[in-house]
């Protein structure tokens, strides 16, 4: 099994701790004037997203996690699982609700997603930073209001609810920043 020594630690390195895959968020080398050096490491559990701090003796080895990131195309949801396809090999993979998390409410068929694979299986799926989605329901706005001051909730075709300016109407396509969940603009073409 591949392993990393503490001197290979850096942000983004994927390691195994207590049977779960983690990514290193931050690594700090700590050493007294004379004596034992340590690595103080912030790690994020790739399954749960929880950040925990660990201290390692410098020189220790830690098992490497078989984790890599890839771009997959979202195909469809069968009611329980989300199906993705590798656009070059056409290999299909499925991800469960735990892997999707919040992502489920942003993606629609054919979107390209950044997928983290652990032992070949998707454990987390990130949506594109920006998505264009149709508004399926929102209160009619006041005529003539183009200022965008204030806002109203709008339900999108994927089920997500975002706050939009008053002038945006049901049936329009809008661009949304999925990292913040906020409205960016009306989509020009579609």
């Amino acid at each position: 099994m591949a392993s990393y020594k503490t001197n290979e630690f850096k942000g983004g390195l994927k390691i195994m701790l207590d049977g779960d895959p983690y990514t290193i968020v931050e690594n700090e080398f700590v050493k007294p004037g004379k004596g034992q050096a340590f690595n103080r490491v912030k790690t994020r559990n790739l399954k749960t997203g929880r950040v925990v701090e660990r201290t390692f003796k410098s020189g220790e080895s830690v098992e490497a996690a078989d984790v890599h990131e890839t771009e997959l195309q979202y195909l469809y949801n069968d009611g329980e699982l989300w199906h993705f396809m590798d656009p070059t090999s056409f290999e299909q993979l499925t991800a469960d609700e735990a892997a999707l998390g919040e992502t489920a409410k942003w993606i629609k068929e054919q979107d390209m997603c950044s997928v983290t694979l652990y032992n070949g299986q998707p454990i987390s799926v990130d949506p594109p930073s920006f998505v264009v989605l149709e508004i399926t329901e929102t209160d009619p706005g006041l005529k003539g209001d183009t200022s965008g001051g204030g806002g109203k909730p709008a339900t999108l075709e994927t089920g997500a609810v975002v706050n939009v300016p008053l002038f945006v109407q049901t049936g329009e396509m809008i661009k949304v920043d999925t990292r913040t969940g906020s409205y960016v603009s009306r989509a020009k073409d579609e």
Binding site: N7, E28, F29, V30, K31, P32, G33, K34, G35, Q36, A37, F38, R40, V41, V52, E53, R54, T55, F56, K57, S58, G59
Partner: protein
């Protein structure tokens, strides 16, 4: 800073010296890694392994044994594997020796130098014994507590993520020092910690006590270790025993076994005058002068871009 430093030692009659960076002998301390290089010469057509010094200590002591009198040196030293917010594999060290001086006099001189180099003439000094520091701030006696008591102290101090650490007593002391205590030291004044446990003597003389204490000090400023000083070990038998213990610890840890400096040992045998000596990290002192948080801020080219 270097101009003020040289003026300081010139006024005090301390001779500037230069010793080689490359040596046939490497550092034996298991917590230090030496960088190495190959020298090709007529005696070594296939290349002779040479070690870049981790400190100029042994060669400066050879000068002391030869009767140099008080000496200082400013040089680059090299430590493999050390890289972090306050660590860089090569850094500038000021090291000096005072034959015939006790540790207290050297502490005074270190404080005077730091005041001069930082241009902070009113910067005060506090001196705390290692034992009192641990007793007062962590409620453990570093002479008596076993590894599990020290682990408990780390946990009650709120150190996260050390439940799986397997450390010996000195390892726990190192962790407590660098994570719990160091950040609070040297706040508003220079803090000297002195009288270390005999297991952390390094190259310091041990006062047999009881309790036995290593005649060693460290200087902290702004929550950062700046300097380490010894009442220097002059006993050749004790020195050989410590080298052998270092090599044994390295063997157990699977670390390289560098050759010992035999000439240094014979210099000790011939007689090293009783001396106090200290090494001070100049990059870190510059960090203090500038209020820098990272060593990279005081380096023109950190190793990744060198």
């Amino acid at each position: 800073m270097l101009q003020r430093l040289r003026a300081f030692f010139a006024e005090r009659g301390v001779l500037e010296v230069e010793t080689p960076i490359l040596s046939h002998a490497g550092a034996t301390d298991p917590s230090l890694g030496s960088l190495t290089t190959l020298w090709r010469g007529s005696d070594a057509p296939g290349g002779q392994l040479l070690y870049l010094h981790t400190s100029p200590e042994l060669l400066m002591k050879r000068l002391l044994a030869a009767g140099s009198g008080p000496i200082y040196q400013v040089c680059k030293v090299f430590r493999d594997g050390e890289r972090g917010r306050r660590h860089h594999p090569e850094f500038s060290l000021l090291e000096w020796y005072r034959p015939g001086w006790a540790l207290e006099a050297l502490i005074d001189e270190v404080a005077a130098l730091v005041r001069r180099l930082l241009e902070r003439p009113a910067l005060g000094v506090e001196i705390i014994r290692f034992r009192d520091l641990f007793r007062e701030r962590l409620a453990v006696d570093p002479w008596k507590a076993d590894a599990s008591a020290l682990r408990a102290a780390a946990e009650s101090a709120g150190l996260a993520g050390c439940d799986r650490l397997e450390l010996d007593r000195d390892g726990w002391l190192d962790l407590l020092m660098s994570r719990c205590l160091e950040p609070e030291l040297g706040r508003g004044c220079m803090t000297f910690i002195r009288d270390y446990p005999p297991t952390q003597a390094a190259l310091a003389r041990v006062n047999p006590g009881p309790p036995a204490v290593a005649l060693r000090f460290e200087l902290y400023l702004d929550g950062m270790e700046l300097a380490n000083g010894f009442d220097e070990l002059t006993d050749v038998h004790e020195q050989s025993a410590r080298f052998e213990a270092d090599l044994e610890a390295r063997r157990i840890a699977g670390l390289p076994q560098p050759p010992l400096d035999a000439v240094f040992l014979s210099a000790l045998e011939a007689g090293l005058p009783s001396s106090s000596g200290v090494a001070l990290g100049l990059d870190r002192l510059l960090m203090c002068a500038l209020g820098a948080d990272q060593i990279d801020e005081v380096l023109a080219f950190p190793v990744e871009r060198a």
